[in-house]
Amino acid sequence: MPYENYEKWKTIPQVQTPHLSIVIPAYNEQERIVATIGAIASHVSDLGFAWELLIADDGSKDATVKTVEELGLANLKVLKTPKNGGKGSAVQRGMLAAQGDYILFADADNSTPIEEVSKLLAKLENDGFDVAVGSRAAEGAEEGKKSLLRRILSGGLRMIVKYGLRIGVKDTQCGFKMYTRDVAKKLHSKQTIMGFSFDLEILFLASKFGYKVAEVPVAWVDAPGSKVDTRKEVQRFLRDLWKIQVNNLSGVYRQEAA
């Protein structure tokens, strides 16, 4: 694992189109984000292709933006906004700004270790999939340190998603998903849900538009300091599920003719 690859990425701005863009949505992440950036930069710089890192700040009230900018990494961009719009809005801004052939979004706490990225990339590069979804529910996934409450909720929500929206993916909420560039732009430009359950809408759209979606087992650790208020988010999740149905019936997701 040559350190020189990381050093080059850190200091020399790339001119070619990135093969991979990684988008990290961040809200008040000044404590956790630097370690995650370090782990990602070290690992991905060694994969042998050009790549960019985008931190999509979501109107953080702490020093997230300053902390990240002061790292002075040549191929890292910070997307700023004055207003907190929800995780979905940060991911959307990142996805629409990213230039890579493939675009991954990953959570700021490195809860799915970045070493899993190659599994998703292989699905898109070699197996012809349009979307690869990191999954804690697929066979072979490793789930560490997940509370009983979160396990029960996940199970319940998976059933609702399966039968309510007919989404085949078992784990819609894992913060580790990769798309080809065109598909990322098409899906996220139609996105209307900006909160926690934006993933659900994106996967619903992927299914509706006929994209090939792979569910890839990944390791996942319930990182301490999660900002998810479980009760509130379940309510919002159910409300968003209804919104997706209404949007669909009222033509919000209609695709323009080519």
Binding site: G38, A41, S42, N110
Partner: protein, 114 residues
């Protein structure tokens, strides 16, 4: 995370393997406190098996370093894998700790001071 405790003379050694994050800080912090309380303020932490360290774990190491120095000792680190090395650099903690390539070099550095 796997934790292996050893000693080499008056130096307490902790070898860690796995993800060193907030879930894993308590046993490491307790071990460091026990060593310092017992007058073993020369501590070496071997991070060879660690591929990710989060901000809580970093803070626990900084606290351990402070406690060791208050007792006239030192906390040193060795065998940092590249991701952990990069995290130390980005957080600028590589300037706060004495970091060595391997256990032998770190142990020799303790001997030079004694």
């Amino acid at each position: 995370m796997e934790i292996i405790k050893k000693t080499s003379g008056s130096i307490a050694i902790l070898q860690l393997k796995g993800r060193f994050d907030a879930h894993e800080v308590a046993p490491v912090a307790a071990w460091m406190q026990t060593q310092v309380d017992a007058g073993l303020a020369q501590v070496l932490i071997d991070l060879e098996g660690v591929n990710f360290i989060d901000s809580t774990a970093l803070s626990s190491l900084v606290r351990g370093l402070k406690h060791c120095r208050e007792k006239g000792g030192e906390l040193r680190l060795c065998n940092l894998q590249q991701p952990v090395r990069v995290i130390f650099e980005l957080t600028r903690l590589d300037k706060a700790f004495s970091i060595y390539a391997d256990q032998a070099t770190a142990l020799a550095a303790f001997q030079n001071i004694e």
